[in-house]
Symmetry: C2
Subunit: 310 residues, 2 copies
């Protein structure tokens, strides 16, 4: 298993990961920003001299730079990455990263652990506890690398959700892209009314909170997930038009709220535990079925994966 | 000032208000539900035998029943309400209550203090601390009654926002109706994907939280605010369509997030304090200007109102 991990990009996610991994293995970080490097070094962590020096000797490299920076860093890694190293990333959209043809034994990843805060100052080694962490299983994904990474991720308390990059991107369009755009639209709708802003309470604050994310990060997760997001938006816009027209016709919005209430009950259902033998002849297919059904891998043992499905 | 207050309807808002008012004056509550009455009595509060018996002898009656129950209770109050009593309510839409022609010296009110919880079990005497509380100033509103009520409301720690019923309803369409409908639409959009639900994290949970409100309450605040809400929805739908089309054309969503970020900075600005003499010849006009500008009344003294504008 991974004995030397390099984390490239030390914002909220990369910084939290470095802080957590450094507790029980050799871990080194790098950030293109000199101020961040100094901050991380002052916090007592090993920081590399440059990208190539940081990843040299690592058996796992975690790319935690913002989405727009990924293609450039991947290009640098084509020569710098140790040939047998596993490469993963934490970007919130997976298709474009995969399309950029990452070098090494690449496994796309995405921890669902963002907050509206960013930067190493907000880093927290416990950020990933009980978080869902997608690890992509696509054509060409190295299953051994995937399992090693799943062991590391579950070892720091997260639950691994297996999915293809495409299925991931469609799902996060619904639970991340759309919420960000709805939050921005809500905030902008109230912009013209000082009275409205002065009455902003729970529902408005909850509904707009994620619009407090750094705009460049919010825009990236939408812009990079263009195809899936425009489809999700069209469906949602259709729903809103139907509600508006129904209100205009004097009908009630109750059915919409009844449905939504039932959907929220589906979150955090107690799941069913079961084991998946590591030598299952169709392990990949079973894992993808598990993820598509809303299930997750809780632990990776020598002979089996401990799983939970809803 | 009010020496005997009757609170009709003992859910989250009414129950919290009864608990707060009972600490420093005579206060009695009533609820149409016998179980709630028993609960409130067991918690040590005075509970009336029926609606008429509860409001008899009160110089202030606070109507805190759900919106759909208001017309029926108003009809009962036409005979039961003491003729000089001030009547107020806490409904989240003000136009329809005013249109139902409330008896007595009526002042429409709306504390912006709801949560996704409901019922007396969630009541909290500190619920109103620092909350905005709209008190309506419309044609025919008794200014003396308004000032007495403003003194009571600021006395329990809330800040009074003066507004006409119409301006209130337009503002809450933006900061309450629209957030509720957006939350429901987001939840319903994810309903078909178990993978999406299993990845639901911060942005989805924040964005859908208020869809956990009791559906009948959420629907009422939308259905009763039909006119203002359909207008707000049409504008928001237009915005979403523009974003979708812009994404389709390959443009970035950054400008939308930049704007939204700037709007959120406007919340909780430090305000400017000033006094408004109680005998200002255009007190009503000045108060409405204050509310429209996002300001509030923090205290009502014998000779002046202590105000804050953003």
């Amino acid at each position: 298993m991974f004995e030397r991990v390099a984390v490239v990009g030390l914002g909220l996610i990369g910084g939290s990961l470095l802080a957590r991994l450094a507790t029980d293995r050799s871990a080194v970080g790098f950030d293109s920003d000199a101020g961040t490097r100094a901050l991380v070094r002052d916090a007592g962590f090993e920081v590399g001299p440059d990208l190539a020096g940081t990843v040299a000797g690592a058996d796992l490299v975690v790319l935690a730079v913002p989405l727009p920076a990924i293609p450039g860093v991947l290009d640098e890694l084509r020569t710098a990455l140790p040939p047998t190293a596993v490469l993963t990333d934490v970007a919130s959209v997976k298709g474009p990263v995969r399309a950029a043809d990452p070098p090494g034994r690449y496994v796309g990843g995405h921890p669902m652990a963002g907050t509206e805060f960013s930067g190493f100052g907000a880093a927290d080694p416990d950020l990933f506890a009980r978080a869902a962490w997608v690890l992509c299983l696509d054509d060409g994904t190295d299953t051994a690398a995937w399992l090693d990474l799943a062991e590391l991720v579950t070892g720091i308390g997260a639950a691994v959700v297996p999915a293809t990059a495409e299925a991931h991107d469609q799902a996060v369009a619904l639970v991340s892209g759309l919420p960000h755009l709805f939050a921005a639209t809500l905030a902008n709708a109230a912009a013209g009314s000082e009275l409205a802003l002065s009455l902003a309470a729970g529902s408005f604050r909850d509904g707009t909170r994620v619009a407090g994310t750094r705009p460049v990060l919010a825009a990236a997760l939408c812009d990079w997930n263009r195809a899936a997001l425009t489809e999700a938006m069209s469906d949602a816009i259709g729903d809103l038009i139907a509600i508006r027209d129904s209100l205009v016709s004097g009908r009630s919005t109750l059915a919409e709220f009844d449905r939504a209430n039932a959907v929220l009950q589906l979150l955090d259902r107690a799941g069913t535990r079961f084991d998946l033998p590591r030598n299952d002849p169709d392990l990949r297919g079973r894992l993808l079925d598990l993820g598509a059904a809303g299930g997750r891998v809780l632990a990776v043992d020598a002979d089996r994966l401990r799983c939970e499905s809803p």
